[in-house]
């Protein structure tokens, strides 16, 4: 037994991230990096979820992204490369098989949301929030339906097609043509 028993204190290192730090960090990244911050969001997300959310968000925001049909629908090699890039380790990282935002990435996330609210409006933010509540099946059904080229090389196309067919024509939205005009009637 030691005479002078040392008491070891757990010291929590708290790193203060200033607004300036976040601004400087954002300047180091391109638009697609910032789309990935939004796609990952405040909670850890699977690779499939990040891929599908990023495809939807980039389309909505008009950010160029190369995609191609692959085993689970549209896939972007660029997204995979960016998720693995050391340059982006300040924003996000992979842990236990999922992607999560690093502390400065989380601060950047809230800053990007504020900017989006001003530039694109609250509807865009609401959609992004709802994306986080969607399960993998919902994300697959949505992306396959909106971008039917997803079916081309898909190994799960029968499953996804069945999910989509179950939802088709539920009557919440009704579409009809009136001459040159398309009318959507929404009962929601």
């Amino acid at each position: 037994m030691l005479k002078n028993k040392k008491r070891v204190k757990n010291v929590t290192m708290s790193v203060t991230i200033s607004e300036e730090d976040v601004e400087k960090e954002l300047e180091l990244h391109d638009q697609l990096d910032l789309v990935l911050v939004l796609a990952i969001g405040p909670s850890p997300a699977s690779h499939l979820a990040v891929q599908k959310r990023a495809i939807l968000i980039s389309k909505l925001l008009g950010v160029d992204l190369e995609v191609e049909p692959y085993r689970y629908g549209l896939y972007s090699e660029t997204i995979t490369e960016k998720l693995q890039s050391a340059k982006n380790a300040t924003l996000f990282r992979k842990r236990d098989g999922k992607y999560e935002l690093a502390p400065i990435g989380l601060r950047a996330y809230y800053k990007i949301l504020k900017r989006l609210a001003v530039k694109k409006g609250e509807d865009t933010l609401r959609f992004i929030e709802i994306l986080y509540r969607m399960g993998d099946d919902e994300l697959l059904a949505l992306t396959y339906h909106l971008f039917p080229e997803s079916f081309e090389k898909s190994e799960i196309k029968d499953k996804v097609r069945a999910m989509i067919e179950q939802l088709r024509g539920k009557g919440i939205i009704k579409a009809r043509r009136e001459g040159e005009k398309i009318v959507l009637e929404a009962d929601a």
Binding site: L56, K59, L60, G62, E122, D123, T124, R126, F127, I130, L131, Y132, R133, M134, G135, E138, A141, L142, H145, L146, F147, P148, E149, I164, L167, R168, G169, K170, G171, I172, I173, A175, R177, E178, E180, K181, I182, V183, L184, E185, A186, D187, A188
Partner: protein, 78 residues
Amino acid sequence: MRPEKSEKKEISIGISGLIEIHFKREKLVKAVDVKPGEMKVLVLNDGVLILHYDENTKKLRYAFFDNKGRLKDVGETF
């Protein structure tokens, strides 16, 4: 100003790609533009409507999600 819950809304899309949302009770019209290849989202009372003008097939595809993120309805124009 948003309409009351369960109110029926009508959304019309002209040939120019202009979307008009007709809020029947308030006679309010909201207009957005959807160009080929573009995606737009519209918040309704019970969820979110997503529109995508598919430039390959020239179809407007839509999907409606409730506020819990559950996909409730999908379709496209002919």
